[in-house]
């Protein structure tokens, strides 16, 4: 009886001591910096090449480097000059320019093409038709929008809204399901 009592009290004391001892580990003092492998979408790029004249090419980029959204995005190169009544092969690219060198995120989006759709909406009298030319691995295959044909009409100018829609398990070819990962306007001048 006495022996057992002593043991139980002893064990309890040992447990307490052990717990207090392990409590001195202060891992909160090590602040982990952003994960090296992760990429942040900061830049949307349009690279347009005239289907009949490779020398007629232009690149536009829309850049927002601030993760807190408190600074204005850099729109100094967010416009594209295209010729009237022409067809352009367009590549859409997403970049992480918060790092040096900048990293291309487009391959990851291509890899998960079944979950992504890019939606293009010409605004304000812009004579532009956008046809997506690439397809994902859904059955039947659905368009993605990383590769496109821009078909221009008569001279005009206006904004082209580009949305990257994230549509896990619900992609149906329309823009409605899912959520928006990027929502940018490029100014397009058709001359």
């Amino acid at each position: 009886m006495k022996f057992i009592r002593k043991n139980i009290i002893g064990l309890a004391a040992l447990g307490l001591a052990l717990a207090l001892w392990t409590s001195c580990n202060k891992d909160e003092q090590v602040v982990s910096p952003p994960l090296p492998g992760n990429e942040f979408m900061t830049t949307v790029k349009l690279i347009a090449v005239n289907a009949n004249d490779p020398s007629d090419a232009d690149t536009a980029s829309w850049v927002d480097l601030d993760p807190a959204g408190s600074r204005q995005p850099d729109l100094s190169n967010a416009f594209l000059d295209l010729k009237a009544n022409a067809t352009y092969n367009v590549q859409l690219q997403f970049w992480d320019e918060s790092k040096t060198p900048a990293e291309d995120i487009t391959p990851e989006i291509k890899e998960r093409a079944n979950y992504h759709l890019i939606c293009f909406t010409p605004q304000g009298g812009l004579n532009l038709t956008v046809n997506r030319t690439d397809h994902d691995g859904n059955n039947p295959p659905l368009p993605v929008g990383l590769q496109d044909n821009f078909v221009t009409g008569a001279a005009s100018s206006g904004d082209l809204n580009v949305k990257l829609r994230h549509q896990p398990n619900v992609k149906d070819g329309t823009c409605d399901p899912g959520s928006t990962d990027a929502d940018v306007d490029f100014q397009i001048n058709i001359q």
Binding site: R5, A19, E28, A68, G69, P73, D181
Partner: protein, 796 residues
């Protein structure tokens, strides 16, 4: 107040205590009883205190004395009883109160007065009594409180803590979809409601609207809701109330007992199994007792009246173990518990920007997600692991004083996986959670409780706590920083009960020091900063027992809460609400000044309770809308944490009327008006008026069935009309009023000497389409449709 004077007396009269415990006693105020010797016959006295299993005094216990003199009475407001003018002889005493096991005791009275301490155990097999009719003199006893135990808990097996407590008037839930419920007391939730599980403050990431308490209500033997500011006893965060979850007490008598409960529900095709076993040893191991308990739960996609909610399944596994040893005046306890869950987040709630939010709201008739049943939980889920280890020693210094020292360590690990997989070619990064939080807390508490037969009782204590939080995430800015908190407090509460009166008063001081560790986003250099908070709180209360039928409680109490690190430092997007929230590190402590008046009427057929409260909160912290913010063109509503003075004015009214021996009517009403006094408007996320009315048919027996019952219940909730105009403008309007019907029926079936309890319930009987204002997912989908639930419990 009494304590200080008592302390002075104490120091002078410490001599009788010389020896064993003097060192400890010096720091504590103590009152004790000296039993005097009396030579004369027939002037002897039997007195004492009746308590519940947690050693809290119980008022209203019927005490009967048999022997040379037969006498009867009740314990008074401080749980004490006295029989005087007794002659020497052999007496037998019985103690009874509804809801607890009756106790009988033999007393041999020779030439000395006898002082008894009676602990009544919970009656596990008691079927229909839901609440204990007497009053438990808990931490702050003049504050309104309600206890659920025994059958009230068994009947709700499978429900989360929030859903379980929602049946108490004045308690509502803050909900995020069908599986995440946070209890809300008198309109406040999250860090403003303190959860104390097995005597340990639950320390998790309670700040998020979708961060439900990390615990299994099945492990509790009783759950008490204390309504009102109660920092005096429980420290910071008890702004609106406290939820106390206590495990059943360990058994005394040798042998093994246990029970197993099953729940099957149609909605979500949910199953829940819970079981416990307990035992006590005999002979050389006398005094050693144990208890093991565990719960497993699994659910798939839940269902609204006409579609499934994709990815709302959940899996949960929890267990706990307790070991206790008591010998003469010493009681040692050790316990360990673990809670693990994986909870899917409704796929339709993953909105990107404000346009998505409005689109989701407009598509509530058919959300643009898969409409199917599956148990599979995909990305867009939370994974939570919480473990608590506690050791506790209680030493009885005298017949009426206990000293208790307890140490607890808890670890909370929360991992949130968003439906977006990180843009990385590295599969390791892709499989990481978006947010990862680890919070480790150590706490040490020393409490001295005393109950003396002269009417004084009280407790005082010291507490210390330290916690360290580590955050890792995939974002460029940490959602919340790493931090270390050191907190300490000292308190004293004293009560005096005499006849019809119980008076109570107390004081507390708390100090909190916080060091925050961060890095600069641009330079990635680490830096740290320190913050400190200290608060003095107090309470003053009285209970008046006007007659056997009518009792009144009045309490004024204070509460405080330091701003939590989220409110100070958050800088990021709140998923599923299209909000970008910014913290403010200069926020001050929030303080509440709460006044409660409780009126209780009880007769043979009628029981009425009304709690009226006025909770004035200075520097109430909330997120104010400040416009919009765009990240890569994706638009969010921008919110900033600010502080204002607010006032919560409300009433909880409940009643039971036994119209006929077989028919009872019950009614519960919760009313609240929450005002921002600084800006003269309403407050966001405050529960609208809620009414629960029911009728129950019951009998003692029906053939072989024992205590069969049938209940029809209506729950009606009004529209929340008093809101913040500019805050709510950004979001769809509060949903309209709704009314739901529920039925339940059940009985107990004797199986040999054992008992099988069976019950069947239907929730939302008419499969009504509705939305609840307090459900944060009301923008994306309707609330749940009809649910058929079968429960069985076997005790052995």
């Amino acid at each position: 107040m009494y304590c200080f004077t008592a302390n002075m007396i104490m120091l002078k009269s410490l001599k009788p205590f010389a020896g064993k415990a003097k060192g400890i006693i010096i720091i504590i105020c103590l009152s004790f009883l000296t039993t005097s010797l009396r030579a004369q016959n027939c002037s002897l006295e039997i007195s004492g205190i009746a308590t519940d299993e947690t050693q809290e005094p119980l008022a209203g216990v019927a005490v009967q004395l048999y022997g040379p003199a037969g006498k009867g009475g009740m314990t008074d407001m401080s749980g004490r009883f006295v029989f005087d003018h007794l002659c020497p002889g052999q007496y037998r005493m019985t103690f009874t109160i509804t809801g607890l096991k009756p106790l009988s005791k033999e007393v041999m009275l020779r030439d000395r007065d006898t002082v008894l301490r009676i602990a009544l155990q919970q009656d596990r097999k008691h079927l229909h009594e839901v609440t204990i009719t007497g009053k438990r003199i808990k931490g702050v006893s003049t504050l309104a409180s309600t206890t659920l135990s025994g059958d009230a808990l068994a009947k709700n097996q499978g429900k989360s803590l929030g859903q379980l407590l929602e049946q108490i008037s004045g308690v509502s839930v803050m909900q995020s979809g069908p599986t995440l419920y946070k209890p809300s007391i008198h309109g406040l939730t999250g860090n403003r409601v303190l959860l104390i599980n097995n005597g340990v403050r639950q320390e998790g990431q309670q700040w998020g609207e979708d961060h439900a308490p990390e615990l299994d209500p099945n492990s509790a033997g009783s759950v008490t809701v204390v309504k009102g500011a109660a920092s005096i006893r429980y420290g910071s965060d008890a702004i609106a109330g406290v939820v106390l979850m206590d495990p059943p007490s360990l058994p005394d008598s040798p042998g093994i007992a246990g029970d197993i409960g099953l729940e099957a529900a149609s909605n979500g095709r949910k199953g829940n199994v819970t079981g416990s076993m307990e035992g006590a040893f005999d002979k050389s191991l006398k005094g050693l007792a144990w208890r093991l308990q565990g719960t497993l739960q699994r659910a798939g996609n839940f269902q609204t009246p006409f579609y499934y909610l994709d990815n709302t399944g959940m899996a949960e596994g929890s267990y706990s173990a307790q070991l206790g040893y008591h010998v003469s005046g010493l009681e040692l306890n050790a316990s360990y518990s673990q809670y693990n869950s994986k909870i899917g987040i409704f796929a339709g709630s993953e909105v990107g920007d404000t346009t998505d939010l409005i689109q989701a709201y407009n598509n509530r008739d058919k959300p643009l997600v898969r409409d199917r049943f599956t148990y599979d939980i995909q990305r867009g889920y939370q994974q939570i692991n919480h473990e608590v280890m506690k050791v506790d020693a209680k030493y009885r210094l005298s017949d009426f004083g206990d000293l208790e020292l307890s140490y607890a360590r808890q670890k909370d690990l929360r991992q949130e996986y968003s439906s977006d997989i990180a843009y990385s070619s590295d599969p390791k990064v892709q499989n990481l959670p978006e947010d990862w939080f680890k919070l480790i807390t150590h706490s040490l508490d020393l409490v001295y409780d005393h109950h003396s037969a002269d009417g004084f009782s009280g407790s005082m204590g010291l507490s210390g706590e330290t916690k360290g939080n580590v955050y890792q995430g995939l974002g460029r800015i940490p959602l919340i920083p790493n931090y270390r908190d050191y907190g300490g407090g000292a308190f004293a509460i004293e009560r005096y009960g005499r006849g019809k009166w119980l008076l109570e008063g107390g004081l507390r001081y708390d100090y909190l020091w916080r060091q925050v560790y961060r890095y600069d986003i641009n330079t990635l250099n680490d830096y740290h900063s320190a913050y400190d908070y200290h608060n003095l709180t107090g309470t003053l209360g009285a209970t008046f027992d006007l007659s056997h039928h009518f009792t009144m409680d009045a309490n004024f109490g204070m509460g405080w809460r330091a701003p939590n690190p989220e409110e100070m430092f958050i800088n990021g997007v709140h998923a599923s609400a299209a909000q970008f929230v910014t913290g403010d590190s200069a926020l001050k402590s929030e303080r509440s000044y709460n006044t409660t008046l409780s009126l209780h009427y009880k007769s043979d057929k009628l029981k009425l309770d009304a709690d009226l409260y006025d909770n004035e909160i200075r520097n109430f912290i909330y997120a104010e809308p400040i416009g919009t913010r765009q990240i890569l063109g994706v638009g969010y509503h921008a919110f900033q944490y600010v502080q204002d003075d607010v006032r919560l004015l409300g009433a909880d009214i409940s009643g039971t009327w036994d119209v006929l021996p077989v028919l009872s009517l019950t009614s519960k009403t919760s009313l609240l008006r929450a005002t921002n006094r600084t800006r003269n408007g309403g407050l966001i996320n405050m529960p609208p008026a809620r009414f629960q009315n029911g009728l129950t048919l019951h009998r003692e027996s029906l053939g072989k069935l024992m205590q069969p019952y049938f209940t029809l219940q209506n729950v009606s909730v009004l529209r929340q009309g008093y809101i913040v105009p500019d805050q709510e403008q950004l979001l769809p309007p509060p949903p309209p009023a709704y009314s739901l019907w529920n039925v339940s029926m059940g009985a107990a079936l004797p199986v040999g000497k054992k008992q099988l309890d069976l019950s069947f319930a239907v929730e939302n009987l008419t499969n009504k389409v509705y939305s609840d204002y307090m459900n944060q997912f009301r923008y994306f989908a309707y609330d749940l449709g009809v649910n058929f639930i079968l429960r069985a419990r076997f005790s052995f």
